[in-house]
Subunit: 335 residues, 2 copies
């Protein structure tokens, strides 16, 4: 265990998981937290409810295709949607740095309001704290969300079985690369915008068409590679990806090469991975592709029995290599 | 409207309310947020649910009688309890500064776990972000909470009526003064600890004995003066306080004088105000006093028709003065 917290602990990969398990799960352990799904499922006397939270520390606050406010709504909406819940209510917790222009805060709040409207959720409670100049970076936002689960399916990272098919809902990595470019640290321009979007509607459509869905995960920090590693471990199976099948935009591929990072590790904020029973794979792909948010959905791999707990990539050149969880933090603070 | 955010916007008083109404309520407006109660009440097909959130940015992280973790649990538990809900589930959203000793994080998580256990809640979902050195102050924590409301009472700041009685559950200001002393900025020592505590149990007892409770508010940022101003405005009544009746420890009184602040504005993290119909006032006081957390509860004032929307204080010396909402931020980052 590291003696001090490093940026890697926030990257969503190996260090994050170690920290969560060794510190938070260890302290809080209970059956609802234990599976470490994107949301907890609560039974409180009515329909099952999904409950989740995310904080957002993205830098810069405004970027092509979105801003921290829109991200804060869609991020939590999507962690609810990954249980097949209909997202209903959000909280909005702001930590604002002294000196932030009020008009920036207004712009962010208005953007949250628009995103909430688009996702069909209401922001019903909140909190506002201010810290001294230099003690934050403009503003940080936490949202928590409550959604209603009205189907009877049980989804979870531990439910993948050999033979299952792995789908992605669209091209990957747009969000992470957009943020890196928005920082101006790379001397390239690319016609790219964040993929931030609310996914509940697309998930609804998918679950209606393909009740054999085993598990859904939005591919945020750590990207597709990291969420598939979570599935491989939780289900004790192998996930075998076909590199040629993974949809990646040319601009993302180019910028990733310059950054020296594999697009499989780059965060999306509007894409998810679905693991689906083989007999429902065609219906699932069709359901995704005929929805405006899923036109570029693709089958990208298969679940196998061996080697258990690993993600393998069949490369374009015919080789096979292990795709480990993300190590380090090549793209800090992208959400 | 100020052009930039100032510390006063985070103090819980006048500037905070103006900001919340002009920016957040304006953008998010809906019937559940609109009353600006301590929690939103949700109807999702089962029992009524309470939903709330708070972020915690207290400095220092550890202080006599508690730490940021315990505060983060009790604060959200208490905003749920103010609706008479039984707190059930919490989220835990951490924003950690690069460089924080891991052992501090462990200590904080363990403290949250103990506080959750004591309050009868489970921490079922969370999130962990890391920001660069200097971009936070050790760590910030957001908690959101869900509770179950099993009574039929409707509580709210707008329900106070002339003749009602105002109670406080214990001595005020311990928490805020403890934090100021812990910073070592004042050259005094006092035998004082934070009053942070979960209040749901005490509230249960109160509501069972006194169904005529109109409204409950925990006296956090802005103190008793600020929450009573909220009640006076929302109900369009006067609240008349008796200065001699307000329980304030000698140490708090002394330190407040040195700091030049009235204890009525100093935050508590384990005290609440109850407005109670006159016929239930005795039962309410009795219910509080016979519970270990309420032994020093007191009747501190009365609701009158005039002057509407104001809080008045009958001073020890026989005079009467207006107690306005908190202006400025004399005690920054106490929670
Ligand atoms: N501080 C914490 N306390 C308790 N549980 C936590 C904490 N941080 C993360 N978790 C849990 O760990 C799991 C992984 O969290 P993580 O934030 O990586 O998921 P995510 O929200 O889907 O990803 P992202 O934050 O990149 O959108 C979840 O089950 C989450 O509830
Ligand atoms: N950023 C925000 N977005 C939406 N609503 C907000 C926001 N900040 C505060 N509110 C709402 O404003 C009201 C007052 O919030 P406040 O945080 O002052 O209450 P509290 O939690 O009881 O006090 P404290 O935070 O000092 O414990 C609540 O109804 C809260 O839901
Ligand atoms: Mg997720
Ligand atoms: Mg998430
Ligand atoms: Mg609050
Ligand atoms: Mg409160
Ligand atoms: Mg509060
Ligand atoms: Mg998260």
């Amino acid at each position: 265990k590291d003696e001090r917290i490093t940026l890697a602990h926030g990257a969503g990969g190996k260090a994050t998981h170690t920290l969560i398990e060794a510190v938070f799960l260890e302290a809080f352990r209970n059956p609802l937290l234990e599976p470490l799904e994107d949301q907890a499922v609560l039974s409180l006397g009515g329909p099952r409810l999904a409950f989740t939270t995310d904080s957002f520390v993205v830098h810069p606050l405004f970027f092509p295709g979105g801003d921290i406010g829109e991200l804060a709504v869609n991020g939590t909406v999507n962690d609810l949607a990954m249980s097949g819940a209909r997202p209903r209510y959000l909280s909005s917790g702001f930590i604002v740095e002294e000196g932030l222009p009020t008009e920036d805060l207004v712009r962010i709040a208005e953007s949250m309001a628009r995103a909430a409207e688009a996702a069909g959720v209401q922001i019903v409670t909140g909190d506002t704290k201010v810290v001294e100049r230099g003690k934050a970076d403009g503003c940080y936002i936490n949202t928590a969300g409550v959604g209603v689960i009205s189907h009877d399916l049980t989804l979870g990272a531990s439910r993948a079985r050999p033979g299952d098919v792995v789908l992605v809902s669209g091209p990957i990595g747009d969000h992470g690369i957009t943020i890196m470019l928005a920082r101006g640290e790379l001397d390239i321009e690319a016609d790219l915008t964040s993929d931030t979007a609310p996914l509940a509607d697309l998930v609804d459509r998918l679950l209606a068409a393909a009740p054999g869905v085993r598990c859904l995960r939005d591919a945020t920090r750590g990207g597709v590679a990291t969420v598939l590693n979570e599935v491989a471990r939780a289900s004790d199976v192998a996930v075998v990806l076909d590199e040629r099948a993974v949809p990646v935009r040319t601009e993302v591929r180019g910028a990733s090469e310059i950054l020296g990072i594999d697009p499989l590790y780059v965060a999306c904020e509007g894409r998810f991975i679905a693991v689906v029973a083989p007999e429902d794979a065609d219906a699932a792909l069709d359901a995704l592709r005929t929805h405006p948010q899923g036109t570029e959905a693709a089958v990208i791999g298969q679940v196998k029995a061996d080697p258990p707990s690993l993600v393998l990539l069949k490369t374009e050149f015919g080789g096979t290599r292990i795709v480990d969880v993300l190590v380090g933090d090549p793209l800090p603070r992208i959400c």
